[in-house]
């Protein structure tokens, strides 16, 4: 497997609020004091993973775990605080996001958004929505543009008659197709899908997932599939990354991760999926709230406090990702019971 995207030790921290006002800051600077420390939200903290060529990787985790920040850093909409993002041989984290907007590699990483009704400009027809990236990134005009737009629409199962319509004149499924056509038209290497089916009816979801699967096989694109619908991830993804409060807690082949989760958080996540199984096996339930992401203690496991294990060792040392066969998990106790 050739590596397409190599993310290493990536962190993104956001300052929160303003500890002191501008006048106080100026006074401190004049007095020659050091820089003022601001509290930071550690949205993504020391995250490393790879995506292979043609591979589909799932990214799961609860709201606020840093999925969106990670996705925005990878799609180069925001600049990471630390770490590297390598696309093929090229280091992208050194290119500021503003300059990357005009970069030749901009077309190589594209994104499909959650709700196509929101992500298509309401004043653009389907044609304009699909043509916009082609004009901008591929410099296509006139006949060539029209041909390419029609080809992309056809590839995504969007009838040519609908190209003249505005988003509000389309159904949810048709809008999703426009969103996908827009992203694949510029022939990206990596497509980030941010819950592409969350806004759709279940019956339409299946059709769109099948479309995505077919496109991947036809075009050889790699997918980073962000979702909190575990059954969808399991169906579509080769591997899955589980995130909790800015850190990766588990990585592995999707089927194995969901059948035998190693990390207690993944176990709780899997147990939370509603099922018709009423065998009476006690389900793992998470209590309480996640800890604050503002300047968390680097020596305490992020899951401490909610974790059913949670012993003193967990607040004395941050567990690192350890390898178990073809899988990885970040818990001190993984491998004890499983005998791996």
């Amino acid at each position: 497997m050739t590596v397409l995207l190599d993310v290493a030790e990536l962190s993104k921290r956001f300052p929160v609020g303003r500890a002191v006002g501008p006048i106080e800051r100026l006074r401190r600077r004049l007095r020659g004091g050091g820089p003022v420390h601001l509290p930071h939200v550690h949205a993504v903290d020391d995250v490393s993973f790879v995506i292979g060529k043609g591979e589909t990787v799932g990214l799961v985790g609860e709201s606020g775990c840093g999925k969106s920040t990670l996705v925005r850093a990878i799609t180069r909409l925001i600049d990471p605080t630390e770490g590297s993002i390598k696309l093929g041989m090229r280091e992208l984290s050194l290119v500021p996001s503003r300059r990357f907007a005009r970069d030749a590699d901009r077309a190589r990483i594209q994104m499909v958004f959650q709700d196509a009704g929101e992500s298509i400009n309401p004043r653009f027809t389907s044609f304009d929505a699909i043509a916009d990236p082609l004009r901008r990134l591929k410099k296509l005009r006139g006949k060539a543009l029209r041909a390419k737009v029609e080809q992309a629409a056809q590839q995504c199962g969007l009838p040519a008659e609908l190209l003249g319509r505005f988003p509000h004149q389309l159904s949810g499924g048709q809008r999703a197709r426009v969103g996908i056509a827009r992203a694949v038209a510029v022939e990206p290497d990596l497509l980030v899908l941010d819950e592409p089916t969350a806004a759709l009816d279940v019956s339409v979801q299946v059709v769109i997932l099948q479309l995505l699967q077919r496109l991947k096989e036809q075009l050889g694109i790699s997918y980073l599939f962000v979702s909190h619908d575990l059954s969808v991830v399991r169906l579509l993804c080769d591997r899955v990354i589980v995130m909790y409060l800015g850190k990766i807690v588990e990585v592995g082949p999707a089927r194995e991760v969901f059948e035998h989760p190693l990390h207690p958080y993944t176990q709780a996540l899997v147990a939370a999926v509603p099922s018709s199984d009423i065998s009476g096996v006690e389900r793992l339930r998470l209590l309480g709230e996640p800890m604050s992401p503002i300047d968390p203690d680097p020596n305490v496991c992020r899951f401490y406090g909610r974790c059913p294990r949670g012993v003193d060792q967990c607040k004395g040392a941050m567990p690192v990702l350890r390898r178990f066969g073809n899988r990885e998990a970040a818990c001190h106790f993984t491998g004890e019971k499983e005998g791996l």
Binding site: L77, A101, A107, Q110, F113, I120, P122, R136, S171
Partner: protein, 310 residues
């Protein structure tokens, strides 16, 4: 039940907007009155019986004749004459033109400045946003007339008399626009704050659209809708402000008829029983601002999705 049946594209006359219009007698009457008044004002040179701008057309002997009387030389004055013997009907039509011109120009200027500052304020944010919004707050604490008086006063001292006379109308436009830009800026800023966090802005950034282009070609068209409503309502307000200022003698120069300055001239003769000199331009002012206001009200209701389907 919504269906995915392919229907023919909607024609503009099928829209809710047009349906609403056809079923609102107030809107129809207001539109007719507004359109007729604007048409008359634009075509003033062709419809007036007397060219009051030409001093030769005024006969001092015909001064202050009541409506319907005939002058010394057989001229018919439908709405009477003013103290200089000018035909009231013609003066009012020219006054209407001045008032509409000043009102329209100040609305355009205020909207332009307000939209620009609102876009910058909402999209860039930070200290620039704080600065613009504080200026707007301060602006709102002054009554419109005070600001206009201030600008007029400054321009009077800064320029000599002849220059001031020549520049009176632009100064008036700036003075009125300076009092009304805040509404546009605040509305646009609020709308931009909502739009800029929508996914389509992110989607535009993913394909490498620059921030300036996102602002101008993606956000801007999506926030301009309510401006039509504000501009219409503001037109009526601007016309009234112009009339007020001209009535107070700080608006248009005395030689230019405007609805406000005509009312002022008539004001001196009200107690001598020559009511028409004030009443005719006054009635015109009421008709114009009422029609424009009603039109604005109707537009606001018709374009507000939350009020549709009442």
């Amino acid at each position: 039940m919504s269906t995915n049946v392919v229907t023919r594209p909607q024609r503009w006359w099928d829209s809710d907007f047009v349906y609403d219009f056809r079923h609102s007698p107030v809107a129809i009457v207001a539109t007719i009155v507004t359109v007729v008044l604007i048409a008359v004002a634009l075509g003033a040179d062709f419809v007036v019986p007397f060219n009051v701008n030409d001093p030769a057309s005024a006969n001092v002997v015909d001064a202050r004749l009541p409506p319907g009387s005939s002058g010394m030389f057989g001229s018919n004055y439908l709405l009477g004459t003013d103290p200089q013997g000018r035909d009231m009907l013609s003066a009012v039509i020219f006054g209407l033109r001045t008032s509409l011109m000043v009102g329209g120009a100040s609305v355009v200027l205020a909207a332009f400045v307000g939209i620009l500052l609102g876009l910058v304020s909402g999209y860039i944010g930070g200290w620039l946003d704080a600065l613009i919004m504080r200026i707007a707050d301060v602006q709102l604490t002054f009554p419109a007339i005070l600001i206009a008086l201030l600008i007029d006063g400054i321009s009077r001292t800064a320029m000599d008399r002849a220059t001031h006379e020549a520049l009176a109308i632009p100064v008036l436009v700036v003075a009125i626009a300076a009092t009304y830009w805040v509404q546009y800026a605040r509305t646009i800023r609020a709308l931009v704050l909502v739009e800029r966090d929508k996914d389509y802005v992110l989607a535009a950034r993913v394909i490498g659209v620059s921030p300036l282009r996102i602002l101008l070609s993606h956000i801007c068209p999506n926030v301009l809708g309510p401006i039509v409503v504000i501009a219409t309502i503001n037109l009526a307000l601007a016309i009234l402000t112009e009339a007020t200022l001209s009535f107070l003698g700080i608006g248009v120069p005395p030689t230019t008829p405007s609805l406000g300055s005509l009312v002022r001239i008539g004001n001196e003769f009200l107690f001598s029983g020559d009511w028409w000199i004030s009443a005719v331009p006054g009635a015109m002012l009421v008709a114009l601002s009422l029609a424009v206001n009603l039109l604005g009200d109707w537009l606001r209701d018709a374009l507000n999705p939350r009020l549709s389907g009442r």
